[in-house]
């Protein structure tokens, strides 16, 4: 199951790319699992995903808690809490 990852703000800066296509194993069930799986790559991913409490997510362009199941998701964005307005 390929997922289009998108990164924003300092998450994007630390990882060094705006996005990437990933294909996690079936054991990766939630956004948190996905973050842990990506952090295990080390480098920018490890740094960006060091403290999940500072991260928020959108699954298919809707805000979603990190314990959201990712089955069927096509696009997942990871970013810091929003600061618009």
């Amino acid at each position: 199951m390929a997922i289009e990852m998108l990164y924003f703000a300092w998450v994007r800066e630390k990882i060094g790319v705006e996005g990437e296509r990933v294909d996690p194993p079936a054991t990766v069930a939630t956004v948190t699992d996905l973050i842990d799986w990506l952090a295990a790559r080390g480098g920018g991913h490890a740094e960006a995903f060091e403290d999940p409490a500072r991260l928020r997510a959108a699954v298919d362009q809707h805000f979603a808690p990190l314990d959201t199941a990712i089955a069927g998701a096509r696009e997942i964005a990871i970013f810091p809490p929003v600061t618009g307005g």
Binding site: Q61, V82, G84
Partner: protein, 147 residues
């Protein structure tokens, strides 16, 4: 009328107010947010989630339209590099009831701050660059509206 703008270009609050006034409700409220030059800020870079931003802003506007008797809502949010004095965000509402127009305006700006995917990076005269941290008070401001 719900009009949403997600744009790099500047906007003119006077023009937006005129659109809302033309709806005939008799009451038009607005809030405009601008870049402040506090602490030697020289640039504010607004990043957003292009696929999601307009939808998220429309959802906030539709929620306001459910809660208050509004004739019109205009929401505009800029992205890209801005400097002190630049307008960032505009919220405008039209209603036959002044309280509805003003309350919806407050609701919309509070919710935009927590429900629209924007991030701000500040650059200062001394070369410092940092991403603005979300404020607990913004979450509290949005939470007071419930739902």
């Amino acid at each position: 009328m719900i009009a949403i703008g997600v744009q790099a270009e500047a906007f003119d609050p006077g023009v937006e107010l005129t659109r809302l006034e033309a709806l005939g409700g008799g009451g038009v409220a607005s809030f405009t947010g601008l870049v402040r030059g506090d602490g030697g800020l020289v640039e504010m870079m607004l990043e957003h989630h292009p696929g999601m931003t307009e939808k998220a802003m429309r959802a906030v506007a539709e929620e306001a339209a459910r809660r208050w008797p509004l004739l019109g809502i205009v929401l505009i949010h800029r992205y890209g590099p801005l400097v002190p004095g630049d307008r960032i965000v505009f919220v405008g509402t039209a209603s036959a009831h002044r309280a509805a127009a003003l309350e919806a305006c407050a609701f919309l700006i509070d919710w935009l701050k927590t429900a629209a995917p924007f991030w701000k990076r500040e650059r200062f005269a001394d070369g410092t660059v940092h991403w603005v941290e979300a404020k607990a008070e913004d979450d509290a401001a949005a939470a007071r509206w419930g739902g």
